[in-house]
Each structure stands twice: as C-alpha cells, then as structure tokens.
C-alpha cells in the first residue's frame, strides 16, 4: 500500500544545512489495524507527503527505516499494541517523530509513553495534516526541546482529566513536572531564538497552554 509522490520542493537553507527532510519530501508511516482507516489517512495526506502503511505492529517495525520521518500510530491493535511498537521504535533509536492517533482517551498510562503528540480519533483532514506538519517541524529542534514538547503534551492531556490534587499525588507526574522545568531551563536560549518562528509559537502555545485541540491537535 506504499505510495510515493514527488512534490515540487522549496528547500530552505535551514533544512539543507542540517540535512533535514523538506516537509514536502517527508515520508509518513501510518499504522492501524483497520485497513479502511489507513486508506483514509492516505487520502488525507498523499497529496503532500509520501505515505506508507502498516496493518500491524509487526508490519510497522518491518517498514521502519531512517527514511521514515513521521509515524502515526494506533494504540489498540491485536497481537502487538501501539504502545509496544512505540517502545520498540524508541529502543531502536530511529530518528522519527511519533504521533499517536487513537480512539483511546489519554490516561495516566501515557506518562511513560515517549510519543511526541497525541490525537484522539476521529480526525479531520486539517487535524491530521497539522499533526504531521507539527511533527516535521520538530526535526529542527534540539533533543531537549523535543523532549520538552513531548513531556508537555503528556502533562497537559492529563490535566484535562485529573484534578491538580490527584496529579500532585502521582509520583511519576511530579517527576515529569520537575524534568520539564529542567528542560525549559536547558532549552531557554533555543526557545528565545525560535520565538518569532510562527510554527514554534503555534506548537509551543498549544502544548503548554491549558487548551487541547490546537492546530497540531495536542
């Protein structure tokens, strides 16, 4: 089900210098056990990105390579769950950004999950495109900033579901809060430099703000 479509490129200097993928040359791997959903995602993304698909966790791991820039991953799948796939991708240290796209509402179990972004189904075309754009943009950021965004995404989703008191009682949550403060200090300079870049402003505001449902769906 793999499709490739070449798009006119508009290389900017930043991505060339650091050897990053041009957004329009990006390859997205979509993983979902429902083939019709895969078809939908392809239809939503194929005019702008190269889209590959996998119908199971095993297929996903097989399809993975350094060419994949973004993985969109379902959580609830038979045999190997998306959570496991996520762990394995991280363990193998592929250099891709992972967005969870699932019907499962985020709960405390996401605290340990190293995804970059979380989107709850059903998704509209603009949500999905914004998600991929947002994840591609993160290729330009330092590891610290990426981790900060990933962390913030998790912490914010939980704030929607649990009260401050309940979260205060959760050790992992507290540890992650502290980690987040450290990362903010580390990434301070980078944040300031990038402050006028619209995409960062959008992503960062949505991640650390109190509202979910921004352009990149966090």
């Amino acid at each position: 089900m793999s499709r490739k479509e070449s798009r006119p490129t508009s290389n900017d200097t930043v991505s060339e210098e650091v050897g990053l993928t041009d957004p329009d040359d990006a390859t997205v791997l979509v993983v979902d056990d429902e083939p019709r959903l895969l078809g939908l995602y392809v239809a939503m993304l194929e005019d702008r990105f190269t889209v590959e698909t996998a119908e199971s966790g095993a297929e996903a791991l097989e399809a993975l390579s350094d060419d994949i820039d973004v993985v969109l991953l379902d959580r609830r799948m038979p045999a190997m769950s998306g959570d496991e796939v996520l762990d394995q991708i991280r363990e193998a240290e592929y250099d891709c950004h992972i967005g969870i796209v699932t019907a499962v509402e985020p709960d405390l179990d996401i605290l340990d999950m190293e995804f970059d972004s979380y989107l709850v189904k059903p998704v509209l075309q603009r949500d999905l495109r914004a998600l991929v754009d947002g994840l591609l943009a993160r290729q330009r950021y330092s590891d610290a900033l990426n981790e900060l965004l990933s962390l913030s995404s998790r912490l914010v989703s939980l704030r929607q579901k649990y009260s401050a008191d309940e979260l205060a009682a959760n050790e992992t949550y507290q540890e992650l809060q502290e980690r987040k403060a450290d990362l903010e200090a580390t990434a301070q300079a980078e944040l300031e430099t990038l402050a006028d870049l619209d995409e960062l402003a959008v992503i960062y505001r949505d991640v650390v703000g109190e509202t979910i449902g921004g352009e990149d769906g966090e």
Binding site: L37, A103, K121, P122, Q125, D165
Partner: protein, 486 residues
C-alpha cells in the same frame, strides 16, 4: 410466745382480717352467706360493706360460670396459692380478674370459710402482653433466637427452623456457631461478640450455612437484653434472609457490567467506521468545496459526541472521587472556558466570590460544562448565563435567559436521549443529573426570573426544609426529580 398461744377473741380476729392486704370475705358455710369482709374487699367490689354482707359468694360474679375458682378443701387448713384465674364483678359491672384461696375455721361452733381474693389485673395484663409478643415472635417471617449470656441458644422460632433446617431440639443449648459458613474470619465474630457483650447492638450481613450445607445470606441484628439492674441476661438475634436480595444485587451487577461492556464495545466499534465516513466526507468537502457536506460533517461529529457521552455515562456515571473543597467561582469560570460559548455571556453573582463547594473537581466541571452547553444550545443569539449561590448557602443554581423549559413534566429533560435541540445529543442533562446524584445533591428545575431555565442544586439536603422552598419560590416547591431512568 405464751401470749400468742391464747385463744384469740372475735375482735382480734376482725382486726386481723381488716389488716389483711387482700380482699377477705368470710362466708358462713352453712348458709352460704357472706358474714364479714374488710376494706380491701369493699374496694375490690367498689361496694359498701353493708351491701356485701348477706350476699352469696356466687353473687360476686353474677354472670355465672367459673367465676371465683377455689381449689381449697373445705376441711383443709388453707389452699395452696391458686393459679386459676377467675373474676369478680364490681358494682359498676367491671370484671376484675382475681385469684382466690380459701381457708376454713370454726368459731363459736360456726363453720366459716375465709376467702382471700387477690386482684391480678396487672399480671393478667402482663400475660396478655407476653402472649402477644410470643405470637409475634412465633409468627414472624424472620428467624429469631434467644441465647443466654454465654451464647447458648435457649429459644428459636419456627422461622428459624424453616431457614436453617434445624429442628428446635437440635439447636437448644448449642451456640449459633453451628451455622457458621467459614466465609467470615475469626476477627469478624470476635468483633460481633465484643460489640454485644459491651451492651451495644450489632447489625450486619453475613453468610450462614443451612443444615443441608447450603449457604444463605442474612442481615442479622443482635441485641443484648438487660435486667432491671442493667446487667445483660440474654441476647436476642433476628435474622432476615437476604439471599434473594443478594442474588438480585449480583444479577444487577452482572447486567451492569454487561451493559458497560456493551456500551464501550459499541462505542469503540462505531468510532472507526464513523471516523472513516467523517474523514472521507471531510476530504470531499475540501476538494469539491461542496458546502452541503458541512451538514454531513456536523451530523457525523454529533454522532461522535454521542458516543463520547455514552462512554462517559456507562463508565463512571455513578461514581465520584473523594470530594474536595474547591473554589466555586474559579471552577465555574474554568468550565465556561471549556465550552464553545460563542456569543454567550457568563455572570457569576458577586456573593459567590469566596464560596467553596465540596465536590469531585472534574465531575463538577463536567456538570457545569453540560449545563452551559445546554443553555447555549437552547438559546438563540446572546445567551446570558447566571451562576450563583442559593439563599442560606444550601447550594447553587445555573440560570439562563433563554426560552425556558416547556416540557411536562420538566424533569423529563433529564431522561437519556431526550432532546429538543437540533444539535443536542440528549445525554448532557442525564449526565448532569447523574453527577448531582453521585454527590448526593438534589437537582430541580424552575423558571428563571426572566423566563429562562433555572437549575437548582441543593448540596446540603439536610437543610432542605419546606419553609426554605416556600420562602424562595413563593410557595411553589419545585418538583423533586425522580431519580430513575425511564
């Protein structure tokens, strides 16, 4: 002693009779006429002595029958205390239960019968009462047993025999431990025993075993019975068979679990195809620019919202996490931000500034957002939503200036799936009711001052006096809701 041995004269005899605590009637055995009585005798019959002298003993109970029993032997010295209860009739015609014993003696050659008559009304009344209690216990549908202070069974009623399968004779003298099922640990029985021996009543559910080995659930109450000095002399145990109730509870539980599973399966199974339909319609809308597809997208998104709410209802509808004290106004404003409020405005009444409310924060917010959405969906243009405290701090209200609730009866709006709004799912207010219920709050609907709908939540139901309602709503107590889903 020597003076006592002297023959007593008539005067002395009369004085002795007079001083007797009971009614005494002296009867001439030959003529069967009463020849003497005492003050107590006159009191008993409520007649003067002169009226009594000359009557036959049978006149004291004119209706005949076995009135005054007397087992004494005419020749015998004295009767043993007669247990037979008879009665005499007073001047007023009142029957007084009495007990009678007779002695005979001979004075100056006259054979006399001395009849001692004792009023036993109190004893008879007590026996009547006991008979009533005994019958109540014997006929009761609950198993009742009495034990001594050591816990040895002294009495069981027929229901006990029927429940346990043990015959009375098999359990008397044994302790109720013969019924133990092994389903409770030693500590359980130790606590029970400690409670009742300290003079307290013990109440609880437990599982016992019948003689045939079958287990059954009972609700048991054990109370100490104390004597006049407050010392425990016995225990009474009352067992209600709740096996049916337990079975019913288990069945409900199972059905509820199935329903939950059903709801979440349906919800998740529906989500995928729905998402696919929505996504493709969305793509078509983007590429073809056909605006009529917006309606399809709206409809599909509404279906998704319904699925979310069905999940919310089935998953944690009836539970609240430990309530905590939260700032009322902050919670209201936070909830407002969560809702797509468009042109609607929120005003929080000033008096709530420092108010706190004890609630599960997340569920309280869910309650508020559902109410806000409800207000906005039902009102055209710029809805003004007002939130404030009820008088006397009994609770709070959420009111709007929309068209009000034109539904009879108004509480029908809480029914699952009930909606009058094109965009509504019909679950929002059910969720509201459920959250209120889970907090133990009473919710009611009234008309707001400016004609809109006003939802009132009484959070402190203990203070919910009728006069509070009257003062506030001008005499019309708002309809209490029925808490059942129809």
């Amino acid at each position: 002693m020597s003076s006592c041995e002297k023959q007593l004269d008539n005067t002395a005899c009369r004085a002795i009779i007079e001083s007797a605590p009971n009614a005494v009637f002296v009867v001439d055995a030959d003529t069967d006429r009463i020849v003497g009585t005492n003050e107590a005798g006159a009191d008993l019959l409520d007649r003067s002595r002169s009226d009594i002298i000359g009557l036959s003993p049978s006149d004291l109970h004119p209706s005949g029958g076995s009135a005054v029993p007397d087992r004494s032997n005419r020749e015998g010295r004295a009767a043993s205390a007669a247990d037979d209860i008879g009665y005499v009739v007073t001047a007023e015609g009142e029957r007084v239960p009495v007990e009678c014993s007779t002695s005979s003696m001979e004075i100056d050659g006259r054979a006399l019968l001395i009849r001692h008559v004792r009023d036993v009304s109190e004893r008879v009344e007590r026996q009547r009462e006991l008979r009533g209690f005994k019958t109540a216990v014997e006929q009761a549908g609950h198993a009742i047993l009495l034990t001594d202070v050591e816990g040895r069974i002294e009495y069981v009623n027929p229901a006990f025999e029927a429940f346990t399968g043990y015959d009375k004779s098999e359990v008397i003298g044994k302790t109720p431990s013969i019924l133990q099922s092994g389903r409770h640990d030693e500590q359980f029985y130790a606590d029970l025993w400690e409670t009742i021996t300290s003079g307290e009543r013990w109440e609880g559910d437990l599982v016992n075993t019948r003689k045939d080995g079958e287990q059954y659930h009972i609700h048991q109450t054990i109370a100490p019975i104390t004597d006049e000095n407050g010392e425990i002399e016995r225990f009474v145990g009352i067992n209600v068979d709740i096996s049916d109730r337990k079975r019913y509870e288990r069945q409900l539980e199972r059905e509820r679990e199935q329903l939950d599973l059903f709801a979440s399966t349906i919800a998740h199974d529906l989500r995928n195809p729905l998402g696919i339909a929505l996504g493709h319609v969305d793509i078509a809308r983007q590429s073809a620019g056909d605006e009529s597809l917006d309606k399809a997208i709206d409809a599909l998104e509404r279906m998704d919202a319904m699925i979310t709410e069905i999940l919310s209802l089935s998953k944690h509808g009836e539970t609240v996490r430990d309530p905590e004290s939260i700032q009322f106004q902050e919670a209201v404003e936070r909830a407002w931000e969560r809702v797509d409020t468009a042109d609607a405005t929120l005003s929080v009444v000033d008096s709530t500034e420092s108010c706190t409310i004890s609630a599960d924060p997340m569920r309280f917010e869910e309650l508020l957002t559902n109410l806000f959405r409800n207000a906005i969906e039902h009102c055209e243009d710029e809805t003004a939503v007002t939130v404030g405290q009820l008088p006397d701090g009994h609770g709070f209200y959420v009111a709007d200036d929309g068209p009000g609730i034109d539904v009879e009866p108004p509480n029908r709006v809480f029914n699952t799936g009930f909606t009058t709004s094109a965009g509504g799912t019909g679950f929002g207010l059910t969720i509201v009711e459920q959250i209120a219920d889970a907090h133990g709050w009473a919710v009611s609907i009234t008309d707001a001052a400016d004609g809109g709908a006003r939802f009132e939540f009484i959070t402190d139901t203990s203070k919910m006096e009728d006069d509070v309602w009257e003062r506030r709503s001008g005499g019309d107590r708002p309809r209490r809701l029925n808490w059942h889903w129809d």
